[in-house]
Symmetry: C2
Subunit: 611 residues, 2 copies
């Protein structure tokens, strides 16, 4: 459900906590300790019980780290949190460092001394992360020490309990494939990779494999858990049994051995002792799990999570669910846009009020298809004027702005329905836009259309397509500092690997993958523009007169794009034809579900550009 | 000079040679031996003395390998040579294998047995290549054995002597920077990389560093040699002293210690014994040289050849030379195109005759600027009709075709002048082209123009731009199976690293880099199309109204593009404007050097598209 907009505040006596932690470290013979913003599952969201960074430093951002040494301590945040960290953390306790430009392993380079013993929690850091730290420690002559118990937990007396949200089954008509069939396919993949077993440490990979969903963290409907897949024999699923109703347990017991998470290390040790080849993804798996296998003599094979690709290639049932979810979501978005068009020009509307209203419209759409809104898929980005130019903006009571005539309003939001996940951005002119706003918006739209209409051969990666979304901006000396698209799950994570459309997108696009198409433009202190639809990769198809079948994209997202922001002189005939056809489809699809003012708005907003 | 068009023929008693080699191997206790098509310098062309593969197998292609085992032997060639290898090599002696799909290390996987001793010449294989073999040998329980003397040489009694072409100095007004200054810059780079020395094994890197040129191999005007660069002290240059006149030797002696190549191993050993950190490029350096350092206790640091990037970023003098060379080359090309237009339609012209005529026109251009043609920069690709569709086509007496009305004629050629290297492809309709030819040509041209006119931010790679050259083809279900562009040297290699415009082009483009822009389309058995100009990466510059400076390209190559092959209805107004402006520039630049029929041709061929 809708996330809080509370202003961050200091959470306690940080100096005393730091002193207490140093005392624990001293007793353990450690000269320092690393505190990442992470839990055991390495997901985008972590439960309250894992907010060790916030407890220790007071910093409540969604990414960061701290390192505590005997005489010195630092908190690391990225560009989004430069101001917030100074507001929340006292510079006398922790120096402020840039998480990307000077990350912990870099910062430690000049500080670790020969003989130092730097502690870390091997359950909270991946194998790849530990290797980076290890290289620095080795170069300095220091030792990296995995701790048995996290020393922050030793001083955190009122630490919240881990979450115990009930696990639900994702029905087969929605999942499109029985869990048994998925497990069989995964077994075959383990065979192709010539491994005996695989550790699955991505919670959405587990949810996909067993056709289950959960609610342990915000926005990502996954149960916190681990799994071992085996080439021969049943998989094991490690999860707190209190999350399972009898009915769910009965279903899962037919698929896997269900065990407590405390049994995982011993099972990995047994696998290792048997000499098994065990596949792990070094970028996703806690080092402690890799260590459990190799310490027992097992043979670690490093490679990508074998579930990632099968999960990313959506089947027909999943695609059908996503289409239904996007139709409902489009109805909600259109009602919101109609309401905004009627309300905003007279002034007085705020970013928070708009975001709440949008969520209320989404909650109403549940009456169609019997699929209510279950949660929003991420904290809504609701930015007016200069706030729209802050790419990772999240409105708070402190930053809440009025949405005023003459401004652009950017709203990036999404929903979790049982049959699909949505993610849409629209940018709306409140009153009359300037010529500059129209020029920029039109160039962003040209990039959006170039990607939407691209045909491309088998094997093409997101990195190869990213340029298409940028060229109209580049030609004018403009650009945006984020990727063009990310993968999206089906009632799973709104950010899903492995494919993406960005300079770093090295995975070939395959039929059934769902990605976002979201080029933008940001003028600091003035306005932000982003146009985002989700798109499905279609199988290669013949083109009349051509030699080779080519992929294409189907656009999932249905909502009007603000025609008042388009400069027709910058658009080619083909681009105008795409826009008009898209709007005609939006109108035809949503019209039956709309009435009165919203219907009038839809009809007006989807007229041909030059009409 | 123009390369031979002799048909390949069997070169001797292959069976006897194979038996003799097996006897040598047996005596040396080896169960097999690997014969790459390579010399010690890993360049694109090798001297006759290094044609061991041809001597042993009879196969004379420009790439390939052989592996001889006790009971079995195989020759490995790529798709270009599938027919030729069957013509030249008896299947009773060697089985035929695909060099790319089943390369030697792959083929050996199922053949190496525990205890086998596989020999290889560590002077002819790079560190990276040896590692691939080593992994296979290790998995099989076999041993990889570096040989002291190549066993092929032991049976090759009439092996040619190594080449001794005279070394010349590249004058500073052409090089644009004194060798002393280059060496100082390279020393600073070694400092930044924190190494004491670097082995330079790319002959064009050596030629660039010392401002020298040579003639030991065809087309690449480099002296075969090695060098060691040192952070402190003079570099060492290893080269047969007989290539040096007194004057050249005197100049080089002021820059480097000049030594025979036989002294290299001992010098590397001394570096190693001193504990020096030595930079080597594992993809370019013979394993023997790496081994000489590490065996003596030295510390190998693997990384890219430190000369590659400085060499690729051309200075103003080099760019000015390239512009002059391209003006002269454009005059020769235009005379050729005028001659072709006058001669070909009446029939009877052949691919070889056309290629020879083109070279003759190039030889004449030397009278301008006092810079004669020194050599062609690669074997001319001169392909009529279906031969044009063979991407790596090299005409021979056996394949020579008449260039006939109704065909497309594709000619890809280049020249080496003292002030620059050229590489240009034009496709010409002989008589009236079909609608299909015009459609395809226009799409290739649209890709060529999209790349030529692209603006892009600092840090953009060739992989990001490659898509622009393909999109107009992709949209029609068409594509081409080669990269879009390669780097080009200045009176050096026509294929120069490290940047390229292709899916694999991961190096950011930098000001002064020269690349080819050569999209194409090939219809097997019918026709081939390619349009190639060289382009220079310009420094980022402001765009009016934009936020960020953007790179652009300057087009170097000057010759008409066949307007009869363009379908104007497929071209945008901006594309037509680019073509007309390019043709106006070609006309204005070349006009003063042309006369009579060639001048008339130029004026007609460079008229506006819609005139």
């Amino acid at each position: 459900m809708f996330q809080t907009f509370d202003a961050p505040s200091r959470s306690g006596p940080i100096g005393a906590r730091l002193a207490a932690l140093r005392a624990v470290l001293k007793k353990a013979g450690l000269s320092g300790f690393v505190v990442p913003h992470a839990d055991e599952y390495q997901g985008e969201y972590i439960p309250a019980a894992a907010e060790r960074l916030a407890y220790l430093t007071g910093f409540t951002g969604s990414a960061g780290a701290a390192v505590v040494l005997t005489e010195e301590a630092a908190v690391f945040v990225d560009g989004r949190y430069t101001l917030q960290v100074r507001d929340q953390v006292d510079g006398a306790d922790f120096t402020y460092e840039h998480l990307v430009e000077n990350p912990p392993h870099q910062w430690l380079k000049s500080r670790l001394k020969r003989g130092d013993r730097l502690g870390y929690d091997p359950r909270l850091m991946t194998l790849a992360e530990v290797r980076r730290l290890e290289a620095v420690a080795k170069a300095a002559g220091a030792t990296l020490v995995p701790v048995e118990e996290n020393p922050v937990d030793a001083i955190w007396h009122d630490r919240p309990a881990p979450p115990l949200a009930a696990v639900s089954l994702q029905a087969e008509p929605l999942a499109g494939e029985a869990a048994e069939a998925k497990i069989d396919r995964l077994r075959a993949i383990l065979g192709e990779k010539d491994v005996d077993a695989a550790i699955i440490a991505q919670t959405d990979s587990i949810a996909w494999t067993f056709n289950i969903r959960g609610g342990d963290v915000p926005h990502n409907p996954v149960p916190l858990s681990f799994a071992i897949l085996r080439r021969e024999g049943a998989p094991s699923l490690y999860m707190d049994g209190r999350k399972l109703s009898n009915a769910v347990r009965d279903r899962l017991a037919g698929l896997a051995d269900i065990k407590e998470e405390t049994a995982l290390a011993a099972d990995l040790g047994a696998l290792g002792a048997s000499g098994a080849k065990v596949l792990i993804d070094p970028n996703l798996t806690p080092e402690a799990l890799a260590r459990a296998v190799s310490a027992a003599g097992g043979n670690l094979v490093e490679g990508a999570d074998p579930v990632s690709l099968p999960k990313a290639r959506k089947n027909e049932a999943e695609l059908a669910g996503m289409r239904r979810a996007h139709r409902r979501d489009g109805v909600a978005m259109t009602r919101f846009l109609a309401w905004l068009a009627a309300t905003a020009p007279s002034g007085g509307l705020t970013e928070i009020a708009a975001a709440k209203k949008l969520e209320a419209f989404r909650a109403e759409t549940g009456e169609e298809d019997g699929q209510p809104l279950l949660e929003i898929s991420f904290d809504t980005i609701s930015g007016a004027g200069p706030n729209g130019a802050i790419v990772h903006y999240r409105v708070t009571e402190a930053t809440d702005r009025a949405i005023e005539p003459g401004q652009l309003y950017l709203v990036d939001s999404g929903a979790q329905y049982r049959d699909g996940t949505t993610d849409i951005t629209r940018t709306i002119a409140i009153g009359a836009p300037t010529a500059e706003m129209r020029d920029r918006f039109t160039r962003v739209l040209k990039g959006h259309i170039a990607l939407s209409t691209a045909r491309f051969p088998k094997g093409t990666t997101g990195a190869q397509l990213d340029t298409l979304a940028r060229l109209a901006l580049w030609q004018a000396g403009l650009d945006y500092d984020h990727g063009t698209g990310h993968g999206v799950g089906v009632f799973l994570q709104v950010h899903e690997g492995p494919a993406r459309i960005s300079k770093a997108g090295t995975v070939p696009l395959e039929p059934g993958m769902i990605l976002s198409n979201e080029p933008g433009y940001y003028k600091t202190g003035a306005f932000g523009i982003r146009i985002e639809n989700l798109i499905i990769v279609e199988p290669p198809s013949e083109i009349a007169g051509g030699d080779r079948p080519m992929h294409s994209f189907e656009t999932l997202t249905l909502a009007p794009i603000d025609r008042s922001l388009i400069e027709p002189a910058l658009m080619s005939a083909d681009e105008i034809a795409w826009l008009d056809a898209y709007h005609a489809r939006v109108r035809a699809t949503l019209q039956p579900s709309l009435e009165s003012e919203a219907l009038e708005f839809l009809i007006a907003a989807t007229q041909p550009l030059l009409a």
